[in-house]
Amino acid sequence: MSEASPVATVERDRAELLVSVRNVTKTFRQRGGNVQALQRVDLDIGRGEFVSLLGPSGCGKSTLLRIIGGLHEASSGVVTINGLDPDTARAAKQYGLVPQAPALVPWKTLGQNVRFLTGLHRGAAAHPVMSDAEIDGLLETVGLAGFTKAYPHELSGGMQQRASLVRAFALGAPILLMDEPFAALDEITRADMRYLLLDMWGRTNTTVVFVTHSVTEAVILSDRVIMMAARPGRIASDRQIDLPRPRTPEMEDTAEFHETVRMLRADLREFHR
């Protein structure tokens, strides 16, 4: 059974440090004073890890994601990605971003859309981008193989978000940053998407930082769940999820899963009174 599954074939060396966040603080200036979005955040992420940032809105999880990705600048503290600062890593196309909305280019076909980011800032990537055959393979995996000539407005929301995932993977970037990518989908589509994402992640040696406000989503996807608390935004707990891989929908009915979810919910209650 497992030889049919490429999920098990990628060796993951979690000991190797990829992302290091040291003492990061972020203050936004606003009318009526400063808002402390992040206070003294420390976080290490190993290569190949799937890490979720979990917390209520306003806890700074999206801000932390964007600081890691070099899209926001930290007010103080140091972030390194494989020894590079985030801006340098961004210039070397080390990140694949998946925003909350699919954000496909409306005048390009799905086939062109999944290659759109690869075509921007061409020649900068210090890593091999996916070949056309590999991209077609991913499209096949997510059930979009027959739709490469379709335009975004001809696709459902779930299909668009799957294309957005493929677009990020197609970059071949070592780090994928996902900002609540499934939040806008209906519950049934969302459940499917989680396993599709795990499938794609299993085929590639990528590291995923996944922002979510769903406890069950964080548990079923992640190796580690970083719980964040608000006012000021900070890391409240950091828990290893020991469910075996590959994860399956059936696991959501196991006692182990429920126990993990219960623990995280207890954390949530403790930090969000």
Binding site: L120, G143, H153, D192, L196
Partner: protein, 290 residues
């Protein structure tokens, strides 16, 4: 086991989506005899509207015995056009060329300035009041000033035409370039795309729908500018010139109406052409769907 489960889910989702995708964009198919009648009616409606208007005109003039120099019948106007084909053709060519040149110059100038405005809020705020002034001041008021400055002839006409077309292109150009999905801009930033790439691959295509709207407005404005320019700039050719001459000699009411018909035809043809180009170029945009 898990793989089989996963691909199973995928396949199912794919099929459901396929049906959803097909159904999503196609309006409910109108079938049956009633459907066919409705489709034909929808196509025929504009033709019927125009036919009723012109027939009412034709027979209204006869029934109410309106003097020919006040309002000639459409049939008389058409036979005037037919009788002096080469004259009207020459006049139309002059006016079309002026209108087109002014339209094109306005477009290019507006796009250059709009690009700066879309990149800098300061420039945008600095230029906007000027654009509003150009727009709210009646062009006819400063046309004599332009003629005094540029002299009689083609140059003045082009300046007048370009000025009236300029503001719609400018405003819509800026709005369009700013209309890019913020998520797409952030995605471009996440791979460190250059400003140039963002401009040509995201901002410019995003501006197309609003630029087409501007072009529709500008077609009519360009014809106004050209006619007005000919009127003031001592032109000796063109449909504006034809109208001016006709106005000075009351008896030539038929030439006046001939020029009006030709102008209406040019405007309608240009608009139709724009619509066709727009339908092809903007097939992806929501404005092209029912």
């Amino acid at each position: 086991m898990s793989m089989i489960g996963t691909t199973g889910v995928t396949g199912g989702a794919g099929r459901a989506d396929a049906m959803e995708a097909l159904g999503a964009d196609e309006p409910e198919r109108i079938t049956g005899r009633i459907g066919r009648v409705r489709r034909v009616l929808r196509m025929a409606a504009p033709v019927i509207g125009l036919a009723v208007f012109f027939l009412a005109w034709q027979y209204g003039v006869k029934v109410f015995d309106i003097k020919k120099f006040l309002l000639p019948r459409p049939s008389d106007i058409l036979s005037t056009l037919n009788g002096d084909k080469s004259f009207f053709f020459r006049m139309a060519r002059t006016t079309m060329w002026e209108a087109f040149a002014g339209f094109a110059i306005a477009f290019v100038a507006a796009m250059v300035i709009a690009t700066f405005m879309a990149h800098s809020r300061f420039i945008e705020r600095a230029v906007l009041p000027l654009a509003v002034l150009i727009q709210v001041t009646p062009i006819i008021a400063y046309t004599p000033a332009i003629v005094a400055w540029q002299g009689y002839g083609f140059k003045s006409i082009i300046v007048v035409t370009a000025l009236v077309c300029f503001v719609p292109f400018l405003i819509n150009g800026v709005t369009g370039m700013r209309s890019v999905d913020a998520n797409l801009i952030e995605l471009a930033r996440s791979v460190d795309a250059s400003k140039r790439e963002v401009f040509f691959r995201l901002r410019l295509p995003s501006a197309l729908p609003s630029l087409f709207s501007a072009a529709r407005i500008a077609v009519g404005l360009a014809l106004i500018g050209a006619v007005l320019g000919e009127y003031f700039a001592g032109s000796l050719s063109g449909l504006g010139y034809t109208i001016k001459v006709a106005q000075n000699r009351r008896a030539l009411g038929l030439n006046l109406w001939g020029a009006i018909y030709v102008l209406a035809f040019i405007g309608a043809a240009a608009t139709l052409l724009l619509t066709v180009v727009e339908r092809v170029a903007l097939h992806w945009h929501s404005s092209q769907r029912e």
